[in-house]
C-alpha cells in the first residue's frame, strides 16, 4: 500500500491552484513571487496587445473565408475599458460597408479583452466549423477592433443575418491569457441580452480545443435552427445527445 501523503507539496497533485508555495518568513519564496509576476505580466500584455488584423485576414483567406474589417465606437483601448457602451456599437459609417445577405449566418471576430486569444484560435475554430455548416449561407467574416459581444447584434442587423456567432478574446486570468469565448445569438438586433445568447468559453488548446469548440458550436447552431431561439431556452445538451 502506498504511503499516504504527508508532505505539503503533495497537495499540488490535486489542484492547479497555487498551493504549497513554501514560505520565506511570512512571504512567498522568490521563485513563486516571480512566477506570479510573470503570469500577471502576460495577462496585462494580452489586455493591451493590439490585434494584427492583416495577419488574421490572411489566415482567414487561407481557410477559405472572405472577410471585412470594422471598428467599434471606442476609439482606443482606454476608452474601450472605460466605456463598455461604445464597444457595443459600430463607429459612424461602419454599418454601411457591410452588404446585406438576408437569412445568412454571420461570424464576427472581436479582439475583446485578449487579442492574443483571437490571433491564436479564431481562424482555427472557423476552419474546423466550415465543413459542419451545410445548408447555411455564410456571410464574409467581420473582424472588429475594440469590440464587445453585443457588437455582433449591430453587425447581424446590418447584414440581415438569421444568427450571429461572435468569437471574442476573454478577460485574461493568470493561468491563461489566450482564452477565446464564442457567443451565439438568434435573430441578432440591438438590445438583445446575455440571457438570449449561448456561450462557449475557455477555447484554447489546454482548455476546450478549437476543434471540439467547433463541434459544440455546430451542435448549438443545429439546435438553434430547430428551436428558432438561443439563450436560456436552448440548453447545451450536446454530451447528453451523444450518449443517447
Amino acid at each position: 500500500m502506498a504511503e499516504p501523503p504527508v508532505l505539503w507539496q503533495d497537495l499540488r497533485r490535486h489542484t492547479m491552484a497555487r498551493v504549497a508555495l513554501g514560505r520565506a518568513g511570512n512571504g512567498v519564496p522568490t521563485a513563486a513571487h516571480l512566477a506570479f509576476q510573470a503570469a500577471h505580466a502576460a495577462a496585462r500584455d494580452a489586455v493591451h496587445a493590439p490585434l494584427d488584423v492583416q495577419a488574421l485576414q490572411d489566415e482567414l483567406a487561407a481557410a477559405g473565408f472572405d472577410s471585412r474589417t470594422v471598428h467599434s465606437a471606442a476609439t482606443d483601448r482606454r476608452t474601450y475599458l472605460l466605456r463598455p457602451d461604445l464597444g457595443r456599437k459600430l463607429a459612424t459609417g461602419q454599418a454601411a460597408i457591410l452588404a446585406p445577405i438576408p437569412g445568412c449566418l454571420a461570424f464576427v471576430i472581436c479582439d475583446g479583452l485578449s487579442a492574443i486569444a483571437v490571433q491564436r484560435h479564431a481562424a482555427s475554430l472557423l476552419a474546423h466549423i466550415r465543413p459542419l455548416l451545410a445548408g447555411w449561407e455564410i456571410a464574409p467574416v467581420v473582424v472588429a477592433t475594440q469590440g464587445r459581444v453585443a457588437l455582433g447584434d449591430e453587425v447581424g442587423t446590418a447584414v440581415q443575418a438569421k444568427a450571429v456567432a461572435v468569437l471574442i478574446g476573454e478577460r485574461p486570468g493568470l493561468s491563461a491569457a489566450d482564452s477565446l469565448g464564442v457567443y451565439l445569438t438568434w435573430e441578432p438586433r440591438p438590445g438583445r441580452t446575455d440571457a438570449e445568447r449561448n456561450c462557449i468559453s475557455n477555447v484554447r488548446p489546454e482548455g476546450l480545443p478549437p476543434a471540439a469548440a467547433a463541434a459544440k458550436l455546430a451542435w448549438l447552431i443545429g439546435q438553434m435552427r430547430i428551436l428558432g431561439m438561443t439563450g436560456i431556452g436552448l440548453k447545451d445538451e450536446q454530451g447528453v445527445a451523444l450518449l443517447r
Binding site: 501523503p5 491552484a17 497555487r18 498551493v19 500577471h40 475599458l81 478577460r171
Partner: protein
C-alpha cells in the same frame, strides 16, 4: 446649483469611473470641490427627509426610513455633514455604537465624501462589531480570514487541497467558503458535505459556506444538507436586488430556515452577504444615484439580518466602475468605513482584475490600510490567484504578513485550535502535522 440631494451626492463624490460612465460625476475638479462645500453645509436632517430614491418606489428606502430611530439620532440631529465629520473624528467608541440605529446609509455615505483616507481609517478603527457562530469574530486585536478554496470545476479533492493549504497557513477563521462554478442543488450539496467533513474531521472551530444563490441554499436546507451560513449578493436598491433574484422577504425566509438548524455553537448569526460598488449601475438599477451611496444602502439591507459576515468585493467589478489602484483603494476604505459605522462586521475582498490598472503593490497598500482601520476579515486564496473566478485576491501569505506587521491574531477559538494542531511550527518543515493528515479528508 445642485437641484437635488442625489445630484449633490454624485457631484461631491471623489472621482471614479462608474459615476462617469453613469454620466453623473462632477464635470471638473472645481465643480467637485464646490459640491463638497455644499454637502458639508447640508443638515443631516435634510438627508433624512429627502431620500434619493422615493419611499413609494423602493423597499430598501422603506427599510431605511421605517427602521430609523429618532432617539439614537438625537445627539447629531442638529449637525451639518461637515460638523458630523468633526464629531466622528473626536467621538469616543461608545458614542458611535449608540448612534448606529439613528444613522441612515445616505448620511454615512455623505460624510465619507468629505473625508480623506486617514479620516476613514481613524473613525472605522473606533468601531467594533462582534459576531458569533462557531467562533467569535471582530474582537479587538483580531483579524479573521475567509479561506476561499475555489476550483474551476468544483472538484472536491481540489477544493480540499486548497482548504488544507490555507489551514496550514492559519487561514479560515471567518469561514471556509467556496464559490461554486456550477450553481445547482446537487453540486452545492456535494460541496457542503465535503466542507462539513473537513471541518468535523479536523474539529475546526469555524463555519463553512458554499456561496450559491439563496434559493439554491434554501433547497439544500430542505434536503438536510449541512448548511452553516446562507450567502447572498445584495445591493442597495429594490431593482438591483431583483436583478440578483432576491427580495427582503426571501432573505428573511432564508435567515429563519438557517437559524432553525441551530448549528452554531457560540451564536446564531447565520447570514453572509457580499456587495460592491457598481452592481446597481451594471444592472441599470441605480436611479441616477452615485455608486458609493447605493453601496452604503446595501449595508442597510445587510444590517436587517444580523449577519455573521459582510464584505465588499471591491476590485472585482472592473475598470469601468473603479479604474485603477487609486480608485479601488479609496472605495475599499469607504466601504469598510460605511459598513462599520452602520454596525456591520465588515470585511473587504482586496482584489483586482487583469483589465484594471492595478497590481500586487496596490493590494499590499489597501490590505495594510484596512488592517490599520481594523477590518474584520479579508479573503485568502492560494497564492493570491483565484483559478475559478480569474481574479487576484489576497493570499494566505498576505494574511500572515498583515497579522504580523500589525500584531493581529485570528479569532480566539481558532487561535487555540491552531496551537493544539501544531500549525505554524517552523520545526515541522514541509511535513503536515498528524492531526491534519490529508487522508482524513479523502486526499489519499
Amino acid at each position: 446649483m445642485f437641484p437635488d440631494l442625489r445630484t449633490l451626492l454624485a457631484r461631491a463624490s471623489p472621482l471614479r469611473s462608474g459615476d462617469q460612465l453613469a454620466g453623473i460625476a462632477a464635470g471638473s475638479a472645481a465643480e467637485r470641490a464646490a459640491a463638497q462645500y455644499a454637502l458639508a453645509d447640508l443638515p443631516l436632517a435634510a438627508i433624512l427627509n429627502q431620500p434619493p430614491i422615493p419611499y413609494e418606489n423602493d423597499e430598501v428606502t422603506r427599510l431605511i426610513l421605517d427602521g430609523h430611530d429618532p432617539g439614537s439620532f438625537a445627539p447629531v440631529a442638529a449637525m451639518t455633514v461637515g460638523a458630523f465629520r468633526e464629531f466622528l473624528l473626536a467621538a469616543e467608541p461608545a458614542a458611535l455604537v449608540a448612534l448606529r440605529p439613528g444613522l441612515t446609509p445616505e448620511m454615512v455615505a455623505a460624510v465619507s465624501k468629505i473625508m480623506r483616507l486617514q479620516d476613514l481609517i481613524a473613525v472605522a478603527a473606533k468601531c467594533r462589531v462582534t459576531t458569533r457562530f462557531r467562533n467569535t469574530i471582530g474582537l479587538p486585536g483580531r483579524l479573521s480570514v475567509r479561506l476561499q478554496p475555489n476550483h474551476p470545476v468544483d472538484d472536491p479533492r481540489g477544493v480540499a487541497a486548497s482548504t488544507l493549504d490555507g489551514l496550514l497557513l492559519g487561514a479560515g477563521d471567518a469561514v471556509i467558503g467556496v464559490n461554486p462554478a456550477t450553481d445547482s442543488v446537487e453540486n452545492t450539496v456535494l460541496l457542503l458535505e465535503m466542507l462539513d467533513q473537513v471541518r468535523s474531521r479536523y474539529e475546526i472551530p469555524t463555519q463553512t459556506c458554499v456561496l450559491a444563490h439563496v434559493t439554491t441554499t434554501l433547497r439544500c436546507i430542505e434536503r438536510r444538507a449541512p448548511v452553516d451560513l446562507v450567502f447572498q449578493s445584495i445591493g442597495g436598491t429594490e431593482a438591483v436586488n431583483r436583478s440578483f433574484g432576491v427580495s427582503l422577504a426571501l432573505l428573511a425566509e432564508a435567515q429563519d430556515a438557517a437559524q432553525s438548524l441551530k448549528r452554531g455553537t457560540v451564536g446564531q448569526d447565520v447570514m453572509y452577504f457580499e456587495t460592491g460598488q457598481g452592481s446597481a449601475l451594471s444592472a441599470n438599477a441605480h436611479h441616477g444615484v452615485d455608486q458609493q451611496t447605493i453601496e452604503a444602502r446595501a449595508y442597510a439591507v445587510a444590517r436587517a439580518f444580523s449577519p455573521l459576515l459582510v464584505n465588499s468585493v471591491v476590485g472585482f467589478i472592473g475598470p469601468e466602475y473603479l479604474y485603477d489602484g487609486k480608485q479601488i483603494t479609496r472605495a475599499g476604505l469607504e466601504d469598510h468605513f460605511c459598513g462599520k459605522l452602520l454596525g456591520l462586521p465588515m470585511g473587504v475582498d482586496v482584489c483586482y482584475t487583469n483589465h484594471a490598472e492595478a497590481d500586487q503593490d496596490d493590494m499590499d497598500g489597501l490590505l495594510t490600510l484596512l488592517g490599520v482601520a481594523g477590518v474584520t476579515y479579508v479573503m485568502d486564496v492560494p497564492g493570491a490567484d483565484d483559478v475559478m473566478l480569474s481574479y487576484q485576491s489576497t493570499s494566505f501569505h498576505d494574511a500572515l504578513y498583515v497579522r504580523a506587521a500589525l500584531g493581529l491574531k485570528p479569532a480566539p477559538e481558532f487561535c487555540a485550535w491552531l496551537e493544539r494542531m501544531g500549525i505554524g511550527d517552523p520545526a515541522a518543515g514541509g511535513r503536515i502535522p498528524d492531526g491534519l493528515s490529508p487522508a482524513l479528508i479523502g486526499l489519499g
